[in-house]
Every structure is written in C-alpha cells, then in structure tokens.
C-alpha cells in the first residue's frame, strides 16, 4: 500500500485575481486540542516541559516557542499548533507527561481548515461577516478569538499586523462555504476603507 494521500478540504481551490486580499489554505499545520486546569501548577509545568512554552492564561492570547504555538481557547482549553509532521510525537509526549494529571490532549489536525488572509484589506473584508471590533487595539498581533463568521463558527488568530496576516480556522466541512464567502465578499470592486483617509463628501 502506498503512502496515505492527503486531500484537504480546499485542495485544488485557487483564489481568483479580483480579490482585495490574498487567501489560501494552510495545509501543513498540526493541531492538538489540550484540556486541563490552568490553576493546576503540575499541569502547567508538565505542558511547559513538553511544549517549551507557558500555556497562555490571559483570555484571547497566544504564546509561541519555536515552531510550537499555543492559542488560548478557554480557561481550560488550548489549541496547540505545530508542524503537521510533529503532531504525533508531540501528542504522545503530552499524554505521557500528563498521564497522572486530569487533562486531555487529542489530535484535531484534520478537524479544522485554516484559511490565511493577507493584505491591508483583510480586516475590512472579514468585517463584512463578523461583528467583532477588529479595528480596535484589542485585536493586535497574537490575539485569538472565537467568533461567529458568516453563519458559521470560526476561530481567528491575528498572526501579524501591517500588513495584516490573519488565520481563520473553520470546521473542515464549512471550508468550501467560507471560501465561497471570501470570493463574494472579498472582491476588490467592493472593497471598503473604514475610517482612515476618506474621500471628501460632496456638499
């Protein structure tokens, strides 16, 4: 039997040229859903031993150590990001380190599709489908937020700013819908520049 073939939700999808932003699917990322009590020092220490980072405890923040990142999801839940190839090893290490601690780590690498949005219009395009105050300083680089986006549940990670790089995580089965949504709402001809320099209105 040959090597298992990877077919992600958006395999073969390419963004058309008429968009105000760049979008593409990230396919090489592994994800682990980690549950545990942030108030339990043993848990936090064991997680740090494996991941090399302090799990973020401040809501909606993230932390990184090398190629491993941890996104805060809830007071007792994190999404651990790593190269896809390292998922199995990291998961095994976590499970071993946490064996005696009430916790749970599970591989969810295939559960979500990551759509990366890049460009100065990334936030304004996203704002056509979500009600968060993405233009406020609350959404600086590193911020993580679960949200309702165009009728679906999603997770937003502000990767970097100026120019914006935003990762939008949607459940795999919704990936096509999300993609189609960006094709419709991301068109350059419909771009909006909220605030900033505006055309002077007629008088």
């Amino acid at each position: 039997m040959s090597e298992a073939q990877l077919e992600t939700a958006l395999t073969g999808r390419e963004a058309p040229g008429d968009l105000a932003i760049e979008i593409r699917e990230l396919t090489t990322r592994g994800m682990i859903d980690l549950r545990g009590d942030a108030g339990d020092g043993k848990f936090m220490a064991a997680a740090k031993d494996v991941l090399g980072l302090d799990l973020p405890t401040a809501p909606r923040t993230s932390a990184a150590w090398g190629e491993v990142q941890a996104l805060w999801l809830s007071p007792d839940q994190w999404l651990i990001l790593c190269p896809r190839a390292r998922t199995e090893e990291l998961l095994a290490a976590l499970r071993q380190a946490l064996a005696q601690i009430h916790s749970f780590a599970v591989d969810v690498s295939d559960m979500r599709t990551i759509i990366r949005l890049e460009g100065h219009a990334a936030r304004s395009v996203l704002l056509k489908g979500c009600s968060l105050d993405l233009l406020s300083p609350d959404y600086a680089a590193g911020t993580v937020r679960r949200l309702r986006f165009a009728e679906i549940a999603a997770l937003l990670h502000i990767v970097s700013e100026r120019p914006d790089v935003l990762d939008l995580y949607v459940f795999r089965s919704y990936a096509d819908y999300a993609w189609e949504w960006f094709l419709a709402n991301g068109r350059a001809v419909a771009a909006i520049q909220p605030f900033g320099q505006q055309a002077v209105p007629a008088v």
């Binding site: 809501p59 809830s74 007071p75 839940q77 009600s131 679960r146 949200l147 309702r148």
Partner: protein, 123 residues
C-alpha cells in the same frame, strides 16, 4: 441586539455569540434521588417559570467565546444587564434585594442565611 458580557473570559459581544439558557437557579430535584420527587415538584422543575417584568436572573453560555456558562441579571423591560456572575454562585446581594415578586421570595432565605450575625461581625 443585546451586548452580552462573559464574566469568565471577559469577552463582550452580540447576543448571537452567546446562548440563552433560561431561568437561573432551578434546582434539579432528581439529582439526589428521583424516587423522592413528587409529581408537582417535577412539574415545577420542568415547566414552572418565573416570568418577571423587571429584574430576571438567568443563564447564558459564552457560545462563541470560552464556552462557559454563567449567570446574568437583566431587566426584561429595559434589557439592561445589571450584573453577571459565576454559574455556581448567587447574585450580588444588592440585586437579590432588588428582586421582586417570585424572585424576591426565592432569594429571601438566601439573604437571611447570608446575613452576617452580630457576633460574626464583632469577632
């Protein structure tokens, strides 16, 4: 569209980012021993609802945030949220005192129980 504030993670957002969970502080009588629960008690648990015009004590879930349940106090006429508090907690004392009708009756013994005794105060 209401703005709801989650006391667990601090997220604030549209009501559609949250899930409304109905009346707060409903005790499930069967959790202890279903055989001791009367028909009327079971009916009250399942169906009877406080339906105040004014302060209401209710449950919400931070559906698109941290996923945690919490309690809120909301005025059903003005829609103002007066407070949010933990899912296993009682409301702030002043709001228990401000409650009316059936809620006032419900909180009465809680307020009595929480009343600091003189002795407790001086010691």
């Amino acid at each position: 569209m209401l703005i709801v504030h989650c006391p667990v993670c601090g997220a604030e957002g549209d009501e559609t980012d949250f899930h409304y969970g109905g009346e707060a502080h409903i005790r499930r009588p069967a959790t202890q021993d279903p055989t001791t629960v009367s028909d009327a008690a079971q009916r009250d648990y399942l169906f009877m609802r406080r339906n105040p015009k004014g302060l209401h004590f209710e449950r919400w879930r931070c559906d698109r945030g941290c996923g945690k349940w919490f309690h809120a106090v909301r005025d059903t006429v003005t829609m103002d949220f007066k407070a949010t508090y933990g899912i296993t907690e009682l409301p702030p004392r002043e709001l228990m005192e401000a409650a009316s009708g059936e809620w006032a009756a419900f909180f009465k013994d809680k307020l009595d129980a929480a009343k600091p005794s003189r002795k407790g105060k001086s010691s």
